[in-house]
Amino acid sequence: MSSYYQNHDTMDRKEFLTFKRAAAPTEVKKVERRTTTGLAVYSGTFGKKEAMHLLRRTLFGVKVQDMKDFSAKSMSAAVDALLNTSTAVPNEPLNHYGKTMPDPNVAYGATWVNSALDFNFNFQRTMSMKSWWWEMAAKQQSTIMEKMVMFWHNLIPISALEQVDPRMTHIYLKTLRNNAMGNFKSLVRALSVDPAMLVYLNGRYNTKRAPDENYARELMELFTLGKGPDSKYTEDDVKAAARVLTGWNINFLTTPPTATFTLNNHDTTNKQFSAFFNNTLITGRSTATAGTDELDDMLNMIFAQTEVAKFICRKLYKYFVYYDITPDVETNIITPLADHFRNNNYNIKPLLDKLLKSEHFFDPLNMGCVIKDPTTHIAGFCRQWETDFPTDTEQLYNITGYGRAFGQAILQDILDPPSVSGWPAWHQSPQFLRSWISSDSLPKRNQFTDLMLFTGYRRGGYTFIADVFKVTRQFSNPADADTLIADAVAFVLPLELNITEIATLRNNLLPGGIPAYNWSDEWTQANDPGHSSHATALASAKLKLQLLYKSIMNLSEYQLS
């Protein structure tokens, strides 16, 4: 399935009707969205509301402290802080399986990424890898890094379960991380000869005798040029690109595993490209560096096309702003943003700087309209509610593995997307983000938050649960029911609630409209270990907070960001 910018007005009627039927039972309503805002720097108010909008879109989960810190900054300083990323990670994926399956080469609790390949442990290490990445999201720093790693993974994915060597998945993810905020062209170059990618898109079978076009095709269609109306590469271009990429293979007998280039398998003849690429001729090389030399020539040729920057800008726009790219947005946002991206030599940070500081990004019309992806829903919950993670490796991976598996159950199996186009929510017109929501996934989303608020997930003697007091105590005045509800709503929901909804929430703390001091007293007693009613007040206040937060999270608004 390809991803491309689609003008709904040009969709022919038959196709539209087919789509509509396929999308039953819910009809996707066309949004009439006329924004006049552009890329000029936002100069309006930057308070809690605007800071939360920025944080919700750029982090998996927003902590109370983030809300306080960032709303105290200027808009510009807030974006700068989010873009001031680090590629460092606190640890590497660990051997969490050693207690039940001793690994002769890797001690329990140590990382396996620098050890030799051992097929006996491929499944365990792959699961370790996936859970580890989920852990990075749940424990992320307050920067845009993790969301960008996810962005690139969705754009240029591999499948961890299809790998012959889990260390290659580790290298792939590291490449994403190292280039996530760097240079897009460098990222594409690295991934073109990445061992995991050579496995995933058959690059290792692409030889001069039997060219395999898989990667070449996706490189153009899904990773750089797209299939927009102005992307006019030809089928012959795909064939020529495949020949440029011949000769690569992988070696998993070494530590670390590597991509190898064998000149004998490389097509050393010249490669002719179409008029779309100005009839570029890539000279066939016969040296040891022929593979990378020709790759560089080809990437220079592809990145000379203005469509590349537009393609990425549309993708980023859908990821960070909204999925509906109207003709207005194409003209006022995508085109100038793409110019900016090219003028900055495809460096990613200036592009994000421009977009996130724009008046368009802070346009109220663009707030609260993004349906959360599963990782944001789950890992984001854990970060927002500051859930405690166990320190024992096995227990830790029990928990992170659960978070990852729950994400899979609600349609996002990280590191194993459904196809090379990533997840449908980020490319499939016209449903886009709505495809995260199904009759199965929506109730499960509620079940997850309910479980985390009330009983927690128990495994191996550890209970993973949200401590409702931890966050509540950070609010401005939790002893006052109305302030507490207002704080909680602003913290958890991207939209305001009406008076009836607020009154319903209030009923959790002050049932039947009893005076406000009842809650104040209980909160005070619950927080005073010396009080004679401390124990019962603690239990009673806990239940009220659990029910209050459950009520908020079961609202449809909670699915939005």
Partner: protein, 528 residues
Amino acid sequence: MKRRLFLKAATAAGSMLPVTLNGLSVRAYANSPLMHLLGRRTGNNGNVLVLIQLNGGNDGLNTVIPLDQYTNLTKARSNVLIQDTKVLKLNGVTGTGLHPAMTGLQGLYNNGLVNIVQDVGYPNPNFSHFRSTDIWMSGSDAKESWSSGWMGRYLDAEFPGFPDGFPNTGAPDPPAIQIGGMVSLATMGTSVNMAMAITDPSNFYGLVNGTTDPVPDTPAGRELEFLRIMANQTNQYGTSIKNAAGKATTLSTKYPTGNTLADQLKIVARLIKGGLKTQVYMVSIGGFDTHSQQVDNSDHSLGAHATLLQRVSDAINAFQDDLTLMGIQDKVAGLTFSEFGRRIMSNGSVGTDHGAAAPMIAFGTGVQKGIIGRNPVIPDTVTVADNVPMQYDFRQIYVSALQDWFGLSKTEVKAAMGGRDFNTLPVFKASRMGIEDFADLVSRLHLYDVYPNPVSGEATFKFFTDGGNVELYLFDPLGNRTHTMASGKHSMGEHEVRVDLYGLRPGNYFYQLSQGNRKYTKVVVVAN
């Protein structure tokens, strides 16, 4: 109970079914708990209980009024006391009457549809709204904090593993529904709440009526609308609720307007008539925390409390009328409760402060007409510390409902009460014979749904056997046996086995329970 169900149960019981029971033919017990129990074994007895919560602490002394205590009441609370001449009389009752605003309930009482239990409370009363509400909801003692509710524990046993595997063909409808308030502790099971989460009443009314709340005309509004439609469509019970509501129309013309309790009960009647098999409904009305201006200074029979009681009385009266017109009056009973009564002595603000015991009112054709208990005795000299002492524990009414109305065995009732025994009271008509002796009449082997499902770690398998050699195995998708959960002799009752399935290859596994030639197989999805 449907005759068909009974026959089915009787057949299953085979020759073990006694022809007579205490000298009476079983057939004579067509409305007895035994029949209910037998029916429940293949479903439930179909009875519905509607709990009406009066939030804030209702002033019992001004609700069910002890006319024989007026001398001392006048000394204690003259500024809120109702004029004795205005107190509503009840047929066949002297010395006790109802608040003048409760003409609806008076009519129902006189028609034999009301039972009043005097001075219901619990030892060591707590005067905090929250604590006392929690005690009433959970059924705990005053000095304990329980995290599950009395109804939740009962429903837990009825719907094992909920919500996993529900709804299903045997249990298509929500175990409990709470309207007009938040899902409460009362319906909290040991792990999840058994009540359908109607966290947004306007959404619920929308669901019932097939509409959604308006959304802003923005991208966020459009996405919100999509999510709300999906939430209603994918609400596990959305369809059954909507269908039930669609099948019935309100028949009574007595429902008042501007009465939130009446609005809630109106929907409950429609849902029951529409065939929803939900056993418990919780509705509520707030405002009973009458610390000040409880009555009008010029006429104590009017004022804030009178308005509230009139709403309760009118709503119940219309509800009962509706049930009767719909022809479903015999399967529905109602019960009012409040976290506490109010102090005997009134305060200087023409109100009353938090108190202790207060009356509970049960209604429906299934209740025994009458008043249980004597009037509260008001001392000659009342101090600000004096409270109405309890005559009955609130849990006695609960066990009466579970045993006599829902037809549970004493064992089951005891479990719902957290392992404690309470004597029943003659609130409901059903006979109170010990039916636990017949619990094993119906031979049974039952395999509950595994929890959780899909599973990525520890799985809990549960089964019921009537005793004997039982085997419970797990098979992988290729049919290889991977785990033995049970093998060998098991006593009658429920058995639970926990197995860690972590590390199994993902896929559809089968678990099979067998005893003799009886076999049950279900699927568990392993999602490691």
